[in-house]
């Protein structure tokens, strides 16, 4: 069709698609799925870090952590709004999350077991997320691209904060250093898996590339992340738990070991250590909050009625 041709031409010219523009249903669906999944990840991602707010070991770190978790809520808001421009309501998206139909980043299905996890999530998890997200700032769908610009800016800030917190801990006591190493041991491989399956096993990527939603392949992003992170680990003084990790002069990249994809898929399918807890907590918060949302709606309705009566 003519519309389709115009859409394709815009995509080919690296132009932006805006909400009022015509777009193929598959493009719309792919975006809603991806953006809502991203929004859900921000919201569920508040839980593992939120777990340490009450116990932060200094008031400064407590404030930083609250602000960070609050930012994640903010990212969730931008992203839900971006997805809403595609005709899906926040309630519909939440229904998808709560029923288990929609996914969120599997990294949040692991527990935060010591205070250093907070720093490591900033450094590695946010670091990996940024690698994934920076290309999305050039995504073909305008509202998503613009949301991602803001998200990436804040995520970079979080990443630096996380790394800085770890630097301070590594300069501290033996126990503090052990906490950092323990957290790195538990999170390193999970972060590598965040880039998704190897390119060879990633059939959806091609269409995403074609549409300008995905810009760089999983394996390339993963390699980029590893290459950037290894020197940071050295500065920090932690060991990355991969005996196969070494510089390959010929490739100009770090080689690395085998990712446990069986474990990854098992967690994605709902069988990770915290899947049930994360989802049930979101559902409980939503259900427990029903009366509050009802109250706000009832009050707004009453106010409207009163205004109408007065006007009459």
């Amino acid at each position: 069709s003519e519309q389709e041709a115009a859409f394709e031409a815009r995509i080919d010219a690296d132009g932006r698609i805006e909400p009022q523009d015509w777009m193929p249903e598959a493009y719309r669906k792919t975006l809603v799925r991806q953006i809502s999944q991203h929004a859900h990840s921000e919201i569920v991602g508040m839980l593992p870090e939120g777990n340490w707010i009450s116990r932060a070991p200094s008031l400064k770190r407590k404030a930083i952590l609250i602000a960070k978790v609050q930012d994640e809520g903010g990212h969730g808001l931008y992203l839900y709004s971006a997805a809403e421009t595609l005709g899906t309501s926040r309630d519909q998206m939440l229904e998808g999350l709560h029923s288990g139909k929609a996914k969120y980043s599997s990294i949040f299905n692991y527990p935060t077991l010591n205070w250093a996890d907070v720093g490591v999530i900033g450094w590695l998890v946010d670091g990996a997320a940024i690698m994934n997200q920076v290309p999305l700032c050039r995504c073909s769908y305008g509202p998503y691209a613009r949301a991602m610009v803001r998200v990436c800016k804040e995520e970079s800030f979080h990443q630096r904060q996380g790394y800085e917190a770890l630097l301070v801990m590594m300069k501290g006591t033996d126990e503090q250093r052990a906490m950092v190493q323990d957290a790195v041991n538990r999170y390193w491989w999970k972060c590598l898996a965040m880039f998704g399956p190897p390119d060879a096993d990633s059939p959806h990527s091609a269409q995403g590339m074609r549409w300008g939603i995905k810009r760089i392949s999983n394996d390339d992003l993963r390699q980029k992340f590893i290459d950037a992170t290894v020197p940071q680990a050295k500065v920090l003084g932690v060991t990355l738990p991969d005996p196969d990790l070494k510089w390959n002069e010929a490739r100009g990249h770090y080689d690395y070991g085998q990712i446990d994809w069986a474990e990854f898929w098992n967690t994605v399918e709902g069988n990770g250590p915290c899947n049930n807890e994360r989802l049930a907590t979101r559902v409980k918060a939503h259900n427990d909050g029903q009366w509050v949302r009802d109250a706000a709606q009832a009050y707004a309705r009453k106010q409207k009625e009163r205004a109408l009566k007065e006007a009459a």
Partner: protein
């Protein structure tokens, strides 16, 4: 401890304890916007606490720091209003388990911020210039907290039957704790005498007006007071504070020499 320090600790402990409580909603709020709003309230309160502890540490000298004051004092040394340490649910003993109730959270934030807008306003004239500056900053923040909690109080009271009942239960539960506002602790008395602190008693009519007006708009009833006047601000707390501080201080205390 000397007068201004004790008074600063009262203000700081109020802020840190209520900040700790508000942050408990993070990730569990009734709607995403409220998660963020309460995180914001919490951040403001922790920020206020930091400035107040820093000033107290400065006056105290020696090796005092904001974190020493926040993390290494026991429950009996805390000087916050008992109201602020209560969990987010109705009256229950310290080791009871229960769902959080948003009405309790909102009503408490309202009752406290309705006082503190006046306290901070007055403290802008404190003879302690640092405290006066903290007050000016805190006043702006607290005005927002008051707006936020008052809006929700009205929505809940004048919302559904259930929300009205919950809001009224929270008011009935919490209002008696506000009587502590109107007693004068030695620290307050001395601070007032030194023109560092403010005479809270004189703020009562203004607070009453603010509270009564909001309750009326919310179609809620103010319960009569006949009961026990809590004494948190002289260090006699409820069973809840030791749990709150145990959780808040545990990690810091497990690593006494550490820097974070």
């Amino acid at each position: 401890m000397s007068t201004p320090i004790d008074y600063l600790l009262h203000l700081a402990d109020n802020a840190v304890v209520l900040g700790q409580r508000n942050a408990e909603w993070c990730g569990h709020g009734p709607i995403l916007e409220e998660d963020m709003a309460l995180a914001n309230v919490s951040l403001d309160l922790i920020g206020q606490a930091r400035l107040l502890y820093q000033r107290a540490a400065e006056l105290k000298g020696g090796d005092a720091t904001e974190d020493k004051l926040a993390y290494f004092r026991g429950p009996h040394e805390f000087r916050n209003y008992t109201l602020l340490e209560l969990p987010h649910h109705g009256a229950l003993v310290g080791y009871a388990a229960a769902d959080r109730d948003y009405a309790t959270t909102i009503v408490r934030n309202f009752l406290y911020s309705a006082l503190m807008v006046h306290v901070w306003d007055g403290l802008q004239q404190s003879a302690d210039a640092s405290l006066a500056a903290i007050a000016a900053k805190s006043l702006k923040e607290t005005s927002y907290h008051l707006h936020h909690s008052r809006d929700w109080l009205v929505r809940m009271g004048d919302g559904t039957e259930e929300s009205h009942a919950r809001a009224q239960a929270a008011v009935n539960h919490l209002m008696p704790y506000t009587e502590e506002f109107w007693t004068t602790s030695p620290a307050e008395g001395a601070a007032v005498a030194a023109k560092i602190g403010i005479d809270v008693w004189a703020l009562r009519p203004a607070w009453d007006a603010l509270v009564n007006e909001a309750l009326a708009e919310a179609t809620l009833t103010r319960p009569n007071f006949h009961g026990y006047v809590t004494e948190g601000k002289i260090g006699l707390h409820s069973e809840h504070l030791s749990y709150l501080l145990g959780e808040m201080q545990g990690l810091a205390r497990a690593h006494p020499g550490a820097t974070w």
